[in-house]
Symmetry: C2
Subunit: 413 residues, 2 copies
Amino acid sequence: MLEKMGKLALNAKEKVELLSTEKKNEALKKVAEGLIRHTDAILAANEKDMKNGQDKGMSQGLLDRLKLTEARIKDMSEGILQVAGLPDPVGEILEEWERPNGLLIQKKRVPMGVIGIIYEARPNVTADAFALCFKTGNVVILKGGSDAIHSNAAITESIRESLKEVAITEDAIQLIMDTDRETTSRFMKLNHYIDVLIPRGGAGLIRTVVENSTIPVIETGTGNCHVYVDKDADLKMALEIIVNAKTQRIGVCNACESLVIHEAIAEDFLPLLRTALLEKKVEIRGDEGVCRAIPESKAASEEDYGTEYLDYVLSVKLVGSVKEAVSHINRYHTMHSDCIVTEKEETAELFLNSVDSACVYWNASTRFTDGFEFGFGAEIGISTQKLHARGPMGLKELTAYKYLIKGKGQIRS
Amino acid sequence: MLEKMGKLALNAKEKVELLSTEKKNEALKKVAEGLIRHTDAILAANEKDMKNGQDKGMSQGLLDRLKLTEARIKDMSEGILQVAGLPDPVGEILEEWERPNGLLIQKKRVPMGVIGIIYEARPNVTADAFALCFKTGNVVILKGGSDAIHSNAAITESIRESLKEVAITEDAIQLIMDTDRETTSRFMKLNHYIDVLIPRGGAGLIRTVVENSTIPVIETGTGNCHVYVDKDADLKMALEIIVNAKTQRIGVCNACESLVIHEAIAEDFLPLLRTALLEKKVEIRGDEGVCRAIPESKAASEEDYGTEYLDYVLSVKLVGSVKEAVSHINRYHTMHSDCIVTEKEETAELFLNSVDSACVYWNASTRFTDGFEFGFGAEIGISTQKLHARGPMGLKELTAYKYLIKGKGQIRS
């Protein structure tokens, strides 16, 4: 079954990659309209998933992620229209040069080909991932979670019907209906058909994909983000950034999970930090110095420094220098987003160049690591690996390049 | 042991990535001189490997790849000097923009970090891979083949000594001395320490790495390259390109392994092809039409079309249209290099845009897929995947980027 889907995807790829921007945008508009028109069918399917979820005793949080409403379907539809409005990166000549032998070499931006997406409970990813991949001339094979299978199937059916209406192959999007582990495992080894696999979900899902896929993966997501308060920091600014990065939205990958504080300002800063964090009901886990200054805090274990809490918990560590801060962060972070607060440019430059993260901030909240906040107009995820793309991935990051070499019969001597 | 090497590499990374271009070039020159100075020690080590190889009954071809001479060491040394002379891509600001909230976002080219290289019998890869990685601010951990272990160790020792002389951490290069399978297998799962793994060698090695590595891999190498002779081809040019692509050097990944010929010119072209290929002692494996026209040819099996022979063998297939040619190539190729010979621009454009290869040629030999022929001045390998880099990889392809975000206390609302 997977083999068959792979073949259909390869066939679809040959057609989708040649579509003009106008044709793709026309199709996206149809798809957006189609979702609205199929609202009833999608809600009915979602009802089934919700009932199964309730029967299984799914948590309120997960049920909320799963739930679709008329308003949420409208949001999905509008998201697709927004993608239609973005510039199409495909086809751009990135570089072009002529060799002494007369060969003209053009480096051209092209679609990635066939993209596999593995995701969890949110059915809106189905529409969202399709729109981003299709806009960039890619074909997608989706593998959603079993909890959302009926919703995902209804959304996919709606999209396929709309594609048909504009005479585009429906196989530009395919959904894997078997949600067992063995199918997922085989899906991750379809190297012959799939060019890249993008997991979207929690740390467990991402680890499974990284460990089992033989297809190239873009690792996304986990963020053990740090804020370092330097001895030359504006303490008021530091406090605002920390409170924002930690509590503006709990449970997202760009939220702050760990603080590093220069000893020289600890005496002044920790009492301020204490007041601000306790007010927000943030539990503090610190080293000795922190525990002394903030009696409410617990002792941090080695494990704490490496933990992405996604909760009202924060680890805090004191250091003697910016270099020590850099070493600590490079040891425990997930290469996502880290920040220094300092008024001294020299210190900031050292930090920016030495902390090995996708996004390194000087005097700003880590919460800005986001495709929309970066101005990309869209986001498929945040890469925490170094190959291909780092940080927020928009449309460009869903493309590859190829070389076109034009000659007049040149041969190698 | 591997864990310890990983930790040393991370420590070295923090220092190497901050080295100035001047300092790196100075070190490369020292390393080049050091190899010459250590010629005797390297030759003595190589002697041991050669003796072991002979005792094991290694083939003449492999022994030749393994053998070092004074001249070959001089070549290695000169190769390093050439890399020292190339521009350093690290540090370039690729893009820079300001957001409406005043955040300044800079996309900066940075070293990849720690690069793992797994390779086979050629000891010169040791020096070559080090030079390319070091020039781009990366640290390397090398895992060569057991057959070359003494040579690799002597070369590595020489490089480490030269680095020490210019006060750069020796751990910029480390060689894994255990060459058993289990060590290799564990090496491919050191995600915490290694940012990217590049296999250099035959198809078997590359498959093993792709199937077993949990570290992001750049797949290199295998090339089932095609030449398509269109109905509007200049037949004389087609013949020259085919002979060059097939026979100028047998056994390289950018050599032609398969021909696709438009039926409309088969009657005129096949007799010419026959004469040219038989003269070069190339065995032809063709479909029915080809076998009829060239009595010396054998019937091609399905497997033949997908085979990278690296030998004096060529598969040949007749097709009725350029579209059929594209479908055939996209089905059997390895996404390396494919060529169309035609005088018609429209046909060429269709082929160039539809054949999904790293390098697509119009009227030129596939043998130009090479970092030096592209003008990169160096080459670490030829990527056949779509993530990160495609085609010849030079210095730029050994780098990643990071985002530096500079603010004045901005927080997200």
